[in-house]
Symmetry: C2
Subunit: 114 residues, 2 copies
C-alpha cells in the first residue's frame, strides 16, 4: 500500500524526467558514456543554467549520477534505472486475451458489457 504509492510517485517522477526534449537529448548524449557539463553544453547549445537545471531533474529522478573530478562534473546514465522503467512498460502490456474485451464490472444499472 504505502510502498505501492511511493513507487507510483517515484515512477511518475522518473517518467517526468523524460518528458522534455532537452532532457531526452541529454540522455542520448550520455548513451556513449560519461560527459562533463561543458561538453553537453556545447553539444546541446543551451545556456549553462538551463543545462544545470535539466541535469538536476534527471539526477533527482535517479536517471543519472554525477561525479566530481577537479573542476569538472561528469554525468552518466544509470542503466539499471532505465532497465526498471523498461520493465515496467513491458509488464503493463495487456494480455492478448484481454485485447478488445470489455473488462467492466457488472455493477451498472444498464448493460455496459453486452
Amino acid at each position: 500500500m504505502y510502498g505501492a504509492d511511493l513507487d507510483l510517485a517515484q515512477l511518475a517522477r522518473r517518467f517526468h524526467a523524460l518528458s522534455d526534449e532537452t532532457r531526452l537529448r541529454i540522455v542520448d548524449l550520455l548513451v556513449s558514456g560519461e560527459k562533463c557539463v561543458c561538453d553537453l553544453q556545447d553539444a546541446i547549445g543551451a545556456a549553462q543554467s538551463r543545462l544545470s537545471f535539466h541535469l538536476r531533474v534527471l539526477r533527482e529522478a535517479g536517471l543519472v549520477r554525477d561525479r566530481r573530478q577537479g573542476r569538472w562534473n561528469f554525468y552518466s546514465l544509470r542503466p539499471e534505472v532505465l532497465e526498471q522503467m523498461a520493465a515496467y512498460l513491458r509488464e503493463r502490456r495487456p494480455d492478448e486475451a484481454a485485447w478488445g474485451a470489455c473488462g467492466c464490472t457488472e455493477t451498472h444499472e444498464g448493460r455496459c458489457c453486452d
Copy 2:
C-alpha cells in the same frame, strides 16, 4: 540514427503522459483489459471531469485508444506503443564498455579527460 526531432517531441509527449500518478493508476487498471470511464471513475475515486482530462492526455499521447459503444466510452491500452517506449529505454542503456569512462571531447583548454 534513430529518428529525428519529430520523434523527440512525440516521445517527450508520451513520457509526459506517464508522469502523473493518476494516469499511472489508469494504465494499471487497463492492463486487465478495456474499461469504460465510469468504472475507472469508481476504481480511482476521481471526479468525472478530472478523469476525462487524464484520459485525454493519455489518448493524445497515443497510449490508449477509445471506442464508443452506446452511451459508454471504452478505453484500452495500445500495447505496441508501450512496447516502443520500452524499446527506446533499452536502447539507451550505455554499452558496458562506456561505463565510468569519460567520453568528453579533447577540445578543452585544460585537461578534462585525464
